[in-house]
Symmetry: C5
Subunit: 383 residues, 5 copies
């Protein structure tokens, strides 16, 4: 499986590249070039692969945010969005809406950096799409349940089972998106990691300051490739090392040095507020789904009690009829007795016929009434 | 859906504005003017929108607290409350009570800032309204359950199902309010963010100090709109940047610099104590609801066992009657035998008639007693 | 509801005041005087109000610990315990035991401050009272369940349902006490807040040091009542502000300044150990209750399986009897056939009578045996 | 209950004292002397009391670790283990094994301090004993369940119920041990608190340094016994105060001062690794128990479905027989009709006898086939 | 059990040693030599022992990472992987794949240190193997459930029960791997502990710096073996002590000293990203399993409702037939009456025969129709 898997990953695939100024173009890119371009390891790209159906994920990496929200799978860098091309409506909507928004900048009064505007749209479309699906499911399930509660039939049971499967799958998807947003909100470091534009700008500022020094140390370091960790005290580093150092500083700045990095604190707030708003939306969607699940469970409980209750009523009637049959059989026995071919004196008096019928009749009615009183006394009957 | 959604958000709506001195007036405001006035992004305002029914939320933003507690939807700033107008009783009660409280300041011995007095009233009314609804539900459910436990009928089952739906919806609403309060209490930063009055006053103090410098840097910055992050080391900032910097300092002051911001530590305590008290109330409401749910579940378990038990009793009687019918049929067979038109010697002795009746009668009674003993031996009968 | 509520809160009520030297007296206090005396807001006092039945709560406030553990509702300050008077046995026991302990100080080798000795007794009595109730419930439930497991009757089912209600209510109460202790143990700040004696002593020490300065700033501040937050940099503060500043310092001392406040670290340990010990006790009580719940659930599962099993046995007997009745009816049909008034040649040979009986008899017995074999073959019978 | 409880605690009890060099002796100690010796409060000792059956607990105190793991109840100090004497096999095994290990030091390559070697053995014996009990339970439960799944009988149901009780109790005990280990691992301060040997050595080192100063302040402090908290700034302290100060420093050293207390960081790792290894073992035991619980639940679900299914099959046969009985009764009615004593012309033709039998016979068989077709059409029959 | 256990641990076992340059060889090692080589305590090695089947674990130790992921059990040090030899396919695949990857270094663009490349492969193979097993189980379960939903038979019930057992076991294994990854990701210290290569390099760098000093203090320390903790202030330490000190510094560097250890912050990110990617994969596998579980539960719910429903239908038919039998018995009674041997005037009119049949016939049909109407009125019939 492993080697075969590797091969599949190397074919090139169609992607849509959207720039900061809102222009998009379709490209054919193979996996390794994306990996190089966004400095992502193979294992991160694999999460976007439509061959493996992974649930929604948002990963903040060094130079990119890897977003896989339902059908929308993209890699957001500080300069561009690389969106996996597909015929799905949401992908097309994402592309057109993002381009539109990037082009007319004015109607947004919160000036979010590029990467968050791309992320927000992905969240917005995903939350709305999921909410719409939940509403659709609600419209389908409620009438069937009400129908089922009044009369049970196999067809509806099957439909409820099928819809429960849909509900379960949808709940898992919504839950996954919700968890992903919550997880991000809980981790200040992960959020700080996502400030791609800021990290890039800092790095550029730093690079120009340190240009001379870097040039020098570059030469030194080039000979020590096999040594992954630079010795303590040496402040020289490659472009990449600096980048990482910055992201570390950004993520720890809250605890360290408030004055010099107030803008980072501000940014974490910006992203946190953005996520918070969509968290409320998706959490609401999730609670609708859990309501639906509870409603189905309650209906099933009711159906079970109802079935049990109807069954008891049926058995009560059955019992009454069996008692009646028994009484009738008693009468039949009496008639059988007098139908035997013995010649006894009882047949001599014609009036006996009436007496026999009367006495047996009254006896049978009396016996039946006794049964009724006994059943009522035993409280098995609510009649 | 997206573009249509946008349009709906632009119509103006009726709001009630309540000032710090307790005077209120009704205004027509459109979304964008509120967004500008309170510097809130569109996505935050959407959470208040009655078209989307979002659950209860309390969001601390830069200049405002966005409160959506059940019917009470408002934006609290340091100077005023902007309350969404509606005919709902709680909205009217909120307005009148808040105005009354703001006017006569003396009966409150804890001097809370304006924003927390507005928030407290919203919490107070919401908690009480929810608790009242829970009490109402309890009064309705308990008698039905007790009735159901003694005798099951379809009408009551339907009512229980309906009430379970209410219970579920109410639980979700209460849970949401409780979670929101708990979430706030757990996050010191979010609580610090809510000190609008304090933030405003600090900002004003700072602004007057830095007036000269700000004026200068304002000029510099105006030309660098596209650069969202100011370079490291530059302390110049707009009014807005300062505001943010302050909120960062406030939120991190506990860890950093205790002496200079002791009042902030004090305030977090104030808000924490306020939230704590309402948390106890709403948590109590929630545990009433979970009691109710458990009570319903226990009653249903009991009903199921009772149904099963009654059913067994019914089948036991059925079994006894079937046995009796079988025995009677045996007697009928005997009478049938002697009613056949064969001419055999048995009919010659008239006393045979009595013997046949006696022997068959005793046999049948004996057979029935055997059944009873067998059933008792097999322990299927508790008779 | 709101205004009426307010009124109810203003009546005076009977309280017991217990001093540090173990002397107690009964006082009539109204709400507002307590609020002033302990500097508690109205909302905290409301949690003690017996009109609203709130669950157990322990709140650490500036100058007081508000304790509401089951029947024991009191406010503990650094100097005295104000206990809500009631006829409940536990309140009386609390008063007498606390006075006794305070009077003879020697048998306690851990020198706890006054507030923790009062708190410990409240915890001790509550934990023991709850544990005793759980034991009582256990003694009542186990025999009923064992009885029910062997034979189901409606009376016992009703008693189990009633006891399940008790169990549920008791579990919630125990859970609440447990959660409250756990919550306190998890929050170092809340625990530090509770060192009333220490806070008071520090404040007094500080006050005497800063007497001159405070006197001066007091005059300045008196004119700025409406300004709730003192400007940054101003270190002057009222008595109250200082108090708060201290509690902040105490709570943050672990992270800040270890040398100068080692005694605070010591104290947090003292309270933590105290709470830990009672946590073990109450957690044990809670796990007994959950055992009980599980035992009831297991018994109900067993009862359901047993009911189902007995029902199947009943239906098996029923089936056997129905088969027998059918066979007998077949015999009756045969006798009926030969009882018809047709004159055919079959009646001419008297021996036919015996043959008919023999043949039909064997046929019927054979038919019945076929049924038995068929049922056994179909494996519906474990006979 | 309270005063009686106190009395019970004062009787002396048999303890085993094990020294660092592996020699053990049996002592009679009363509660108060242990309390003094280990400086433990009464409430901690109560947790060891076999009269109250508390679940497993590990408490790190100032000078001692209080260990109550199943039957092994002991107090571990830096110099000795005071083990509660009992006839239980595990206590005896603990004593002999600990002595053996202490005597031959060489086969342990991780040089743990004395207190952790004692603690490790308690954990090791407890984990193994619990795991052995789980295995025993597994061996007992699985065959019964498999037997029950194939045929239900009351005896096995009762045994399953009894074993479920055992399983529940065992799960709670294992869970408690697991939670206790997890809780310790999560709290760095608690772990640091347990370094008794280290704390003692530091104290001794410090004591000798500060001897002169302590001697002096001792005199000062002796007169201020009633003042529990020393004034801020005073660094003088009793032996005990120092001890506490050290434990505070140890527990906070990770955040404060890495260089001077690197050995403490090392130690926390040592204990963490020790706990981690036993956590894996006990967690594995717990997951076996939860597997067992799930297996029982699954078997019960299966039994319920099977019971329902068998019941349906029984009722199907019942239905078929009732239909047959009905058809036979129809035939009997026909024979009854021709057995009536009316003299009509139908009896004149002898061949009618055969026609009546044939027609009625075919009619009855036809009727029965109709029933079968109807039942199959209604899909209630899988025949 | 304990002593026997010890013995079993001492036999030597076959291991595969894989070097950094990708060459592997098979070795026979006994437990104690591994313990010495990797400086692991006995209790950690016991977790790898195949005699005790412990669930998946990843433990970061001083010089080694102990990995037990399903069949792959190995110890990873900075220089080599010691893999437990076994005939299991995954072990063989791990060895060959790791050697291959180590040999051709170029196709990995993220330069992970040796220990993480070994760890990643173990995670990758384990996640894929588990996912494959889940897929297999899905393929087996879904058809059986669909079959069961349409018709219940005992064979399928047994198969579902067996598959539920598999599902349960697999869920626990997947859950364990997932928890282990999550646990690692949550604990920054544990992740830092795993940087074996880095720790080793630092130690070497430090060692050469401190060579002179160490040499000196070595002599001093050699005489104080029994003193496990060096006195405060003494910075001298053995090789081992330094190693630990470094791991402490690495783990706390985030909070302390950002500039000098930026490379450590970088590394934690590297490992975190690696774990994050596999967490997504294994979490996805787990949610498939929980879907499967829910699907089974839903199907069982459906089956129960269906069984109840079919049962009610059966009882309805039964009831109809019993009613019919009763009616037929009534007719039989009438024929019996006129079959009695009394000589009454009714037999004198031959037309009575027809009247009796007609009247009784209509009466019986009428009676039956009454039953039908009554049942429909009582709503027990959906006919």
């Amino acid at each position: 499986g492993l080697s075969e898997l590797k091969k599949r990953g190397h074919g090139s695939r169609s992607w849509i590249k959207i720039d900061q100024d809102g222009s998009s173009k379709i490209l054919e890119l193979d996996k390794s070039s994306i990996m190089r371009h966004c400095s992502l390891p193979a294992r991160d790209l694999r999460l976007l692969d439509p061959l493996f159906i992974y649930p929604s994920t948002i990963l903040g990496r060094e130079n990119a945010i890897v977003v896989s929200l339902e059908q929308i799978r993209c890699i957001i860098t500080a300069d561009e969005v690389i969106l996996m091309n597909s015929l799905d409506g949401r992908v097309i909507q994402y592309e057109s809406e993002l381009c539109k928004r990037l082009r007319m900048n004015k109607d947004h009064n919160d000036d979010l950096p590029f990467e968050f505007r791309a992320l927000e749209l992905a969240l917005e479309l995903t939350c709305m799409s999921l909410d719409a699906q939940v509403k659709e499911l609600e419209l389908e399930i409620y009438p069937i349940l009400d129908e089922l509660a009044s009369s049970i039939n196999t067809l509806n049971l099957e439909r409820v089972r099928r819809l429960k499967g849909h509900l379960l799958a949808l709940t898992q998807r919504v839950q996954k998106v919700r968890d992903e947003i919550e997880h991000l909100m809980d981790d200040d470091d992960d959020m700080a990691e996502m400030y791609l534009t800021e990290k890039k700008q800092r790095l550029e500022a730093y690079s120009s300051d340190q240009y001379a020094q870097t040039e020098f140390s570059e030469g030194v370091r080039s000979g020590s490739k096999s040594e992954p960790v630079s010795p303590v005290g040496s402040l020289s580093g490659t472009h990449r090392g600096l980048q990482r150092a910055f992201s570390s500083i950004v993520s720890s700045s809250r605890h360290e040095n408030m004055l010099s990095s107030s803008s980072s604190g501000e940014n974490i707030d910006q992203l946190e507020m953005l996520l918070e708003a969509y968290f409320v939306v998706i959490d609401n969607t999730l609670s609708k789904l859990s309501s639906l699940k509870e409603y189905i469970d309650d209906t099933e409980d009711l159906i079970n009690i109802k079935l049990g209750n109807v069954q008891n009523q049926l058995i009560q009637f059955e019992l009454l009829l069996t008692a009646a049959t028994f009484v009738a059989t008693i009468f039949a026995v009496v008639t059988g007795i007098f139908g035997m071919n013995f010649e006894t004196s009882v047949f001599d008096y014609p009036s006996t016929f009436h007496w026999v019928l009367l006495v047996t009749g009254f006896f049978c009615v009396g016996l039946y009434l006794c049964f009724l009183f006994y059943f009522r006394h035993k409280k098995v009957f609510p009649l």
